[in-house]
């Protein structure tokens, strides 16, 4: 436990050390990806979120139900609901030997709820949540081709929703779109193995994102635990 704490402190301190100081203290460390300053990351994975929230309970009160989708059926039998598909994309700028900033987007929850309308087609309510965050990443370049890192990010969450419902005597349903803008905070960690320009990474952590919200103020935690596998690319002049 004590050594883990020291490791985290070392990671964080790495971000504020100047290159010359770092080199003096850790002469065996090579600049990660030979000091290239730009990176791209694209990842796919799974997310675990609480199955029930004040938001979804309100949907149930109003007669909606979350029918099992094919995606859910493929990964059965989890206590808090099945894991959900997740996507992540990021642009990284290494600003110091052990420190970078990222603009990162994550796809969080996507859900589809149905209600027996009693007047023809079922009412349908869908939503999907995306984040757009600025992250600060402290990394430890164990080798020039391998690093571990921890990062923290904040930013807005955008949840687009669609309600398909009949509101007039016409047989056609009307589609109502809304966008809920919330916030999120993310704590992530990972490791990356890479050649000079292309590599592979694994990233995991937790995202807290109380969005969407309904008119009563009930929110759904669209984030939760996340585990991603992805590809990375590095380019740009050395620091």
């Amino acid at each position: 436990m004590h050594s883990k704490g020291l490791f985290v402190v070392a990671l964080l301190l790495g971000g504020v050390l100047s290159p010359s100081t770092a080199a003096a203290k850790e002469p065996f460390m090579e600049p990660f990806v030979e000091g290239q300053t730009w990176g791209l990351e694209v990842g796919l994975g799974l997310g675990w979120t609480a199955g029930s929230s004040a938001y979804t309970r309100t949907l149930e009160t109003f007669g909606f139900e979350n029918r099992v989708s094919l995606e859910d059926a493929l990964v059965c039998c989890w206590n808090d609901g099945p894991p959900r598909f997740r996507f992540s994309g990021a642009v990284e700028r290494i600003v110091l030997p052990y420190f970078s900033v990222l603009l990162q987007t994550n796809l969080l929850d996507r859900e589809k709820w149905y209600r027996d309308s009693g007047v023809g087609e079922d009412d349908v309510f869908t939503w999907s949540s995306w984040t757009l965050d600025v992250h600060a990443r402290a990394f430890l370049p164990v080798r020039k081709w391998f690093r571990v890192y921890a990062q923290f990010g904040v930013g807005p969450t955008f949840t687009g929703s669609r309600l398909y419902v009949r509101t007039t005597p016409d047989a056609e349903q009307t589609k109502y779109r809304e966008v809920d803008v919330g916030y999120n905070v993310a704590g992530l960690g990972g490791l990356e193995l890479t050649l000079k320009h292309a590599g592979f990474y694994v990233q995991g952590g937790y995202i807290y994102s109380p969005s969407p919200k309904n008119r009563f103020g009930d929110a759904h935690q669209s984030g939760g635990g996340i585990l991603l596998f992805g590809l990375s690319a590095h380019f740009g002049r050395a620091l």
Partner: protein, 159 residues
């Protein structure tokens, strides 16, 4: 009938048995509005208003003042009905669902709708033979805020 056809017909039967709920009234969600009035429900007394509920475009009916009486004839008969009400009713505003099972003008069954500070959904099973002439009433008898978002009457075949 070959084996495949038998399998599919058995599955279809099981599926229909598992979801055997038939709505006895139209527009249980008070979604269909013809101007200021509900299209499927008759306003017999009082004033109503279209109001948003959890979503701007998922509506409920606000029973304004008292008395207010909405009615609708049954669209099918049933031997037993489940009445589900989703509502937010201020304490003191007496709201009831009434069933005139054979359409003779006499109320045969009254289901009180409890008060609540926020929207809640409650279900009541009513063991009464509902004929095709039956009429269902939503009545508010006393002053107080009362919004009903859903009044579903369905035949329960599961018993």
């Amino acid at each position: 009938m070959n084996r495949t056809a038998l399998l599919f017909s058995s599955m279809a039967f099981l599926l229909s048995a598992a979801t055997c709920e038939t709505d006895v009234v139209d527009d249980p969600g008070f979604q269909l509005w013809c101007g200021e009035q509900l299209c499927a429900w008759d306003l017999e007394e009082g004033e109503i208003r279209k109001v948003p509920t959890w979503h701007t475009h998922d509506y409920g009916v606000d029973l304004v003042g008292a008395p207010v009486l909405l009615s609708q004839g049954a669209r099918s008969s049933a031997s037993c009905v489940r009445i589900e009400v989703t509502s937010q009713i201020e304490s003191g505003a007496m709201v009831t669902v009434e069933v005139d099972a054979d359409g003779d003008g006499e109320v045969d069954w009254t289901v009180p709708v409890g008060s609540s500070e926020r929207f809640v959904s409650r279900a009541h099973d009513v063991e009464v033979d509902v004929s095709i002439e039956a009429v269902f009433y939503l009545r508010k008898s006393a002053q107080g805020e009362a919004v009903v978002a859903r009044l579903r009457v369905s035949e329960e075949c599961a018993r």
